[in-house]
Every structure is written in structure tokens, then in C-alpha cells.
Amino acid sequence: MARPSQLFRNLNAKIASIPMILTALIVFLGGTIWTIVHSFTNSKLLPRLNFVGLDQYDRLWSTPRWLISIENLLIFGSLSLVFSMVIGFLLAALLDQKIRFEDTFRTIFLYPFALSFIVTGLVWQWLLNPDFGLQGVVRSWGWESFTFDPLYDQDIVIYGILIAALWQGTGLVMCLMLAGLRGIDEDMWKAARVDGIPMWKTYLFIVIPMMRPVFVTALVIVASGIVRVYDLVVAQTGGGPGIASEVPAKYVINMMFEAQNLGQAFAASSMMLVTIAIILVPWAYLEFGGRQRRG
């Protein structure tokens, strides 16, 4: 008796969400399935359904360019996450100390986030240029043997890209953390002070666990930016020197249009999806599956 009325409860809301449901199903889900299906074909420039089994994946995992790009993504991703969270939180904690000109500092730290990745990449390419950038300037001050040339060194070029990405994205993490800190009750701080707990312990053991939702939000935003990193690499190093700063998204785009090999590109993007799923699925189960059992 109760069943039918449950379906028609909130009917207006359900009807209003039909476009979004259709978009999610057709565009996201449908597009994903189409891509995965075509990754088993040998499509060149235009999609065709000549199935070739796992050939594209075989080729993908024996291509040095792809292996390097996965390695770069792992290094860049883990360091970017750790550093942007740590630096973002530190900046937010410092800003929260009721200082003067807090608005000015906040604006300055958030400004780089307003720049596109292309501008960020170009600016940092110039800053890290050995002749005209940082190295050149410090050398002109007298330190002749100062070397800071990450963009032309194959082993550390990914760290040059990391610097640019952190400069651009830390501002946003800082603002999120600041909002989270401001949401902590005044009485918390007073109680901790009364109990005689040192400041750093208060932050580490009381405040951060209370800010868990904010950390999760910041994590999702930073993580989605990491997987998508493409225009920063194109603007800053063009994938170079050689193929040392390749990233998976750039491999996919290059395969699609430059190499005119859709099958390879789709295989690469399916692998990117699998990687993300491997990380997300256990986390989602822990996060949401656990609660249901407890409830």
C-alpha cells in the first residue's frame, strides 16, 4: 500500500532531475561505454568497429611514452596532494590567527587560482628558463655556479611542473581549509586552552579530525585536477625534454589527433578510468558501505 505513494513522493523534484539523469546516463555512462568498446578496435582517425581484442592494450603497455606518463602522474599526483594539503592547511592556520590585513593576504594567495593553466605554464616556463629566469637572475647577483634548471633535465622536469601546479592550486585549498577552521566552535579553542593542550596538539588531534569533510572536499578537487593535468604540461614543457614530462591526458590527446589513432587513445583513457576506479571504489565502500552496516 505504501509502495506506490513512495514513488510519487516529491514528484516535482523527480521530474526536474530527469534532464540531469538523462545527461548522466547518455553522456557520462554512454560515452564511457562507447569509449571502452572502441578501445578494442583498431580505429584510426575515425571510429570503426573492427575488433582486434587486446592489441591496443598490448601496444599501450609496451610503449615507453605511456609508461613514463604513468610514472610521472604517480609522482606528480602524490606530491601534489600531500604538498597542497599541507601548505594549504598551514597557510589557513596562519591566516586564522586574527591578523591584520587578512583580506589582503587571502586575495594574494588566491590570485594564482584565477589564472588558466596555460598562463601558469608559460609564466613558469619563463621563470625556470636557465638564461632569463631564476637561474640567470641569481647568477647575475654573483652566485656563478647556482643551477636551477629543472625544465631541461629529464630526471627532475616533473618537479618543475609540480612547482607551477602547487603555485596555482594551493590558494583554493587554503580557502577551503580556512572556511573549515572558521566553522570550528570558539568554545573548542577555549576548552583546549583551559586544559593546557599545546597549540600544535590542538590542531593535530582535535581540529583536523573535526575538519574531515573539508579535507575530503579539498582532496576530491585536487585529485580531479591532477588526473586532468594536460594544458599545464603543454604550455610549460610541451612534454619535453624528449618525452620526460609526458602525462596520460596528453598521451590520449596526442594519440587521438596527432597520431590519428583513436584505438590507442581510447585504450589509454580506459586505463586512466580503471586507475581511478581502483582508488575510488574501496574508498567509497569504506565511506558509505560502513555507515549502512552501522545504521
Binding site: 615507453p64 631541461y152 610541451g238 619535453g240 618525452i243 596526442n254 597520431a259 590519428q260 589513432n261
Partner: protein, 411 residues
């Protein structure tokens, strides 16, 4: 009755202006010619097209061929085609033609007799499908040139080399004089181009045709090609320190005497021209690296995506026909440094190096370009291998093995 004549005269006076030539149409033309010399050349086409009453809307895209072609392909397949676009001779647009996304130019080709004037005829083969022609070839560019800065060798106290081996020998002296022996830009296509120049010049045209045309992987991995990979290792050593990206930045190093030489196609001539340098006096050119006098007949062709608008399609036809007219061919190619596709035009005012190129072309010592023999997938794989090789420490034997693997999987 009395006014019949007057009415007829009035009507005629009103309709006559409408019999005038077609209205001016805007046509968006995309290309990747962004260096000084290239821009000067493409403006010749723009001027000629504007003179027909239409309007050339320039769509230059920076970053080199591969970057620009990414934009072209995504626009055409995405349903936002431009009026005309540049591609290289060969297989770059083959799938777009097969999918029917390119306009058929056979009527214009037959009217203007392209089959008789385009030399070598293989330039039209790359865009001919089922007997229909889909592109307008506009120039012949060859990769097989070594450009040397007379000033750099003077500063180093070494005579200007006459072939590749002498150039390699002069390398250490150039380094001592503070020059970069070989200028090489960082974009992958430049390293790959330098490599295939080494191959055709040092190993010879038959080997080149067998490896790229017949996809002979055994030959590619065999002893005939070992000296080529060793020469590539020499080139790599000589190119260390050239921290530039674009090809014209590397040419600029040669023009200003900071580098000894550059392996680059004859489109570099445009840069020397714009800088006011004179062939033989300020710079020297060695076709085929001074070893095997052979040039590849690569170059550019314009393709015309299918458009729905009739006026624009008409304008496309006008542009296509215009690009192969003798005056336009001469004007464009002299500025660009390339050879005209028409065998019947006179390039008296061409400089020394262009004359060398014309002589080699007339003697028929040509090979097809890599883009005409391999599809973009294989070309990109070779680009990746070569850029990895030139920017790292890969062993030449290892590079040869991987190269043979790419050739064996090419189609």
C-alpha cells in the same frame, strides 16, 4: 503602349547591376605558417585572393605542424570546418578524404589541367581517391639540407665543411669557440626529420625507399643502417646545449652565428631571406648533407572541407584554382624558399640554394617524403623514438632495434 519601351529600359537598368561578378565571400584559411619568412609567403596567397574580390580570413596556428593538425582534425571531425586548410603532401588527411569530409576538386583540376603541370605527379597521388582529386598541392619542400653559418666557422677558425663528415670533425673546434655545433629545436618532429635526412643522405635513396616504402624491417634493423644511427649519436652530441623549442629559433642561432649548422628543410630559406642574409656569403647550404644529392618531395597542399554554404564553396574553387596559377606560384615560392609545383614557371630571381634544389629536382633525384609513405601513427611513433633518443642517452643499437619494430608494425 507608349511606355513599353520606357518600362523595358527601366527594367534593364535595374537588372544589369545584378549581373555583376559574385559578391565578396569570407573564407577562413588555416595553416601553421607563423615564422617571419612563412608569414611573408602566405600573405602572397592572401593578396592574390583578396584581389579576386573575396576576403582571406587568416587562421594561423602556432606551435608547429603536429599542434596545428590537432586543431584542424578536431574542428573538421567536430563539425566546425574551416574554408581551407593546410596539410603536408601524403597520408595526413587520408581518412578525412575517405570519410567524404573533403571537397572534390576534380572539376577544377581538369579545367586547369593540373595533371599536366604538377611535377612530380606523385604530389597529386597523395590526395587522389578513386580517380578524384581532393587537394591543391602548392609547393615542394625537401628536408635534406644542412644550413651552415659562415660566421660561426670563421670565428672558430675552421673552413666551412663541404659534407657531413667534415662537419662532425669540426664539431669540437666549434665547441671550443663557444658555439653550439648543431642547432636543434625541442619539438619532436625536428629530431625525427633530422634522423630521416641522415638516413637518406648517408644510406642512400634505395635503402630509404625500401625501409619506408616497402616497410622492410630486416633492413631497418640490419648493418646498412648502423652507420646512420651512429651518425645520429654524433648529431645528438653536437646538438647538446641548444635550448630552443621552435625550428625558426634554431635557425636564428645559425643566422646570428651562435650555432655552426642546422639540419632543416628548405623552408629555412625564408628566415635567412627575412634576416637579409645572402646564400654563399653569409650562409652555406649543403643539399643531401653534401653526401648523396637527393631531395624528398614533401611540401604542403591545401585541402577544402565540405561546406554547406554555396557562396563559400564557390570561393573555395576560386582559391584552389588561384594557388596553382603561375604568377601566384612564383610569388609564393620565392618568399617561402620552396620549389613550385609547376615545372613551367621561371624562377630566375631564385637564390643559389633554390637553384641547387631546382637542378636536383629537374634531374629526377627525388624520393617521396616520409609523410607520403607512412601513416600518421607510424610517423608519430618515430617522432617519439627520435625525440627520446636525442634528448637522452639511449644507445644507438637500442634505438635501431626499436626503429625496426616500428617499421615492422607500420601499415
Amino acid at each position: 503602349m507608349r511606355y513599353k519601351l520606357l518600362t523595358a529600359a527601366l527594367a534593364a537598368a535595374v537588372t544589369l547591376p545584378f549581373a555583376a561578378p559574385a559578391v565578396a565571400t569570407d573564407l577562413e584559411v588555416t595553416h601553421w605558417w607563423t615564422s617571419g619568412g612563412e608569414a611573408a609567403a602566405v600573405s602572397e596567397f592572401a593578396k592574390a585572393f583578396d584581389a579576386t574580390g573575396n576576403k582571406w580570413v587568416d587562421g594561423a596556428i602556432a606551435g608547429g605542424g603536429p599542434t596545428a593538425r590537432t586543431v584542424f582534425v578536431s574542428r573538421i571531425t567536430g563539425g566546425d570546418p574551416m574554408g581551407a586548410t593546410q596539410f603536408n603532401h601524403g597520408r595526413q588527411a587520408e581518412e578525412l578524404v575517405e570519410a567524404g569530409l573533403m571537397r572534390d576538386l576534380t572539376d577544377i583540376a581538369e579545367r586547369d589541367g593540373w595533371k599536366n603541370i604538377v611535377n612530380p605527379p606523385s604530389l597529386l597521388d597523395g590526395c587522389t581517391l578513386d580517380g578524384k582529386i581532393y587537394c591543391a598541392p602548392i609547393n615542394i619542400h625537401s628536408w635534406q639540407w644542412l644550413w651552415l653559418s659562415n660566421k660561426a666557422f670563421e670565428d672558430a677558425g675552421v673552413p666551412v665543411p663541404k659534407n657531413w663528415q667534415e662537419f662532425v670533425a669540426a664539431g669540437p673546434k666549434l665547441r671550443e669557440a663557444g658555439k653550439i655545433p648543431l642547432a636543434l629545436g625541442g619539438q619532436p618532429w625536428q629530431a625525427a626529420g633530422a634522423f630521416q635526412v641522415l638516413m637518406v643522405s648517408l644510406a642512400g635513396p634505395e635503402v630509404f625507399n625500401k625501409v619506408h616504402g616497402d616497410k622492410d624491417a630486416e633492413l631497418a634493423g640490419g648493418p646498412e643502417l648502423k652507420p646512420v644511427f651512429d651518425a645520429a649519436a654524433d648529431a645528438r652530441e653536437m646538438a647538446r646545449g641548444s635550448n630552443v623549442q621552435d625550428w625558426n629559433q634554431a635557425t636564428n642561432l645559425v643566422i646570428t652565428g651562435q650555432a655552426g649548422g642546422q639540419i632543416m628543410g628548405d623552408w629555412a630559406q625564408g628566415e635567412f631571406q627575412v634576416a637579409g642574409q645572402v646564400a654563399g656569403k653569409d650562409y652555406t647550404c649543403l643539399p643531401g648533407l653534401g653526401v648523396h644529392d637527393v631531395i624528398a618531395t614533401g611540401g604542403d597542399a591545401f585541402y577544402f572541407p565540405v561546406l554547406k554554404d554555396a557562396a563559400q564553396t564557390e570561393a573555395q574553387g576560386v582559391l584552389a584554382s588561384l594557388m596553382l596559377k603561375p604568377e601566384v606560384q612564383v610569388a609564393f615560392n620565392l618568399k617561402k624558399g620552396s620549389l613550385p609545383v609547376r615545372g613551367d614557371v621561371d624562377l630566375d630571381s631564385a637564390n643559389d640554394c633554390m637553384k641547387k634544389g631546382l637542378a636536383i629536382l629537374a634531374a629526377g633525384k627525388v624520393v617521396p617524403s616520409v609523410e607520403q609513405l607512412l601513416n600518421q601513427d607510424s610517423v608519430t611513433q618515430i617522432n617519439d623514438l627520435m625525440t627520446e633518443f636525442f634528448s637522452g642517452d639511449m644507445d644507438p643499437a637500442e634505438a635501431q632495434k626499436r626503429y625496426a619494430a616500428i617499421i615492422s608494425s607500420a601499415d
